[in-house]
């Protein structure tokens, strides 16, 4: 397999969920946009079968797959270790992945509650109103859900003794939330100790250290995870 991952350069975004899976599994891949930037993505998007609606998409050499969860599920079927073996385990990993991506959508919506095509500055009032509900209802609900999943697990990961792609994605969700909502996350952390411990374990995974030290991990800032102090509160 000769993989090329296509995602917008300069932000972690949804691409990071796939990068973490590729890196943690030691699967070789080319980063399409690292070389050609946004123009290269738009060209690849235009040429791709499928076609994708938007990045991320993965060119496997044989075909092009879009949608973060579909890509991760495809990788988990092609490579051992990204999900428990067997149909039930792979479906469960996909289920958890989709719930994490639902939470990610809401983290994006909070600073763009009216339109993705408007600047944040043009929807600040609505964002402030929505952020209250993200902080007080939605983050506790999503993080509490995964705390319950971990409490029921036979091991320290979502699906037992080994991490799966959903564990890597839960790390990324929590990591981005710690950047975007540090006050609220510090307050919530005490209620979800298993989720926070999982975040720490993924951060320390030997297979990811080279990537974390490579400078290739994209910084937060202007993508899904944004730190607007006015949207954060204890």
């Amino acid at each position: 397999m000769s993989y090329t991952l296509w995602y917008w350069p300069g932000i972690p975004g949804r691409g990071e969920f796939i990068r973490l899976a590729l890196e943690a599994s030691g699967i070789a891949y080319r980063d399409g946009a690292a070389e050609g930037g946004r123009d290269a993505i738009l060209e690849a998007l235009e040429a791709a079968e499928g076609p994708p609606l938007a990045p991320p998409f993965l060119d496997t050499g044989d075909s092009v797959i879009a949608q973060t969860a579909a890509i991760l599920d495809w990788l988990a079927r092609a490579h051992d270790g990204l999900a428990p073996p067997g149909e039930a385990g792979r479906s469960r990993a996909l289920q958890h992945q989709l719930t994490i991506l639902d939470a990610l959508d809401e983290v994006h919506e909070v600073h763009h509650p009216i339109a993705g095509s408007l600047y944040y500055e043009d929807q600040k009032d609505e964002a402030a109103r929505r952020a209250h509900f993200l902080r007080t209802e939605r983050l506790p609900r999503f993080l509490g859900h995964f705390e319950a999943v971990l409490a029921r697990s036979d091991g320290e990961w979502l699906l037992g003794d080994s991490w799966c792609h959903a564990d890597l994605s839960l790390f990324q969700l929590v990591d981005g939330l710690l950047y975007a909502f540090p006050l609220r996350m510090t307050a919530l952390a005490v209620n979800v100790p298993k989720v926070m411990a999982l975040h720490g374990r993924v951060r320390a995974l030997p297979a990811l250290q080279a990537y974390f030290e490579s400078g290739r991990r994209q910084p937060y800032g202007d993508g899904i995870f944004r730190h607007y102090p006015e949207l954060d509160a204890v």
Copy 2:
């Protein structure tokens, strides 16, 4: 297999995407909430392995799967006819399904742009503002995308000569949009003739006629697809 589908009674919602797949495939299932209502769902949710964050979830007899796209992907792997055979076809069906569900999320967000826990009446101003962008940017983008997928297909369905679960879901998305945004959809329809023709073909599928005539299909009204005349416009 002995399936039980769990979803909130009284609305089509995300449950309808799974019902259409089960009905069109002739797969027998029990509707958990039709008998026990909301209390029965909450009990099943509490007891379910996984656990699901929210309905819909499917009890397969062996396990419980949540998340609409994960359920449909699971069914497509367990039963012939819901996706093209082979890993590439099943992944592509999942990709399209996820894009349809992304559109569905935006249709829900339009009347609840601040919080799902607030009434529409408490977020009408924000909804009116967001609806402008749904009508002028997002619906043309999503429907135009599927028009392009159909234009590239070898057959009259998204993935060739046979329908897959994503075709049934695209029908449901368009059907709900026709209910919720009749003015806008009438104007958009001329630009997406292949999508509208697909909607008509699914409506006429022989395998679905008994279901459509059964009275079991839940009415639109208070769920994801809502017709607020003030949010619609040509």
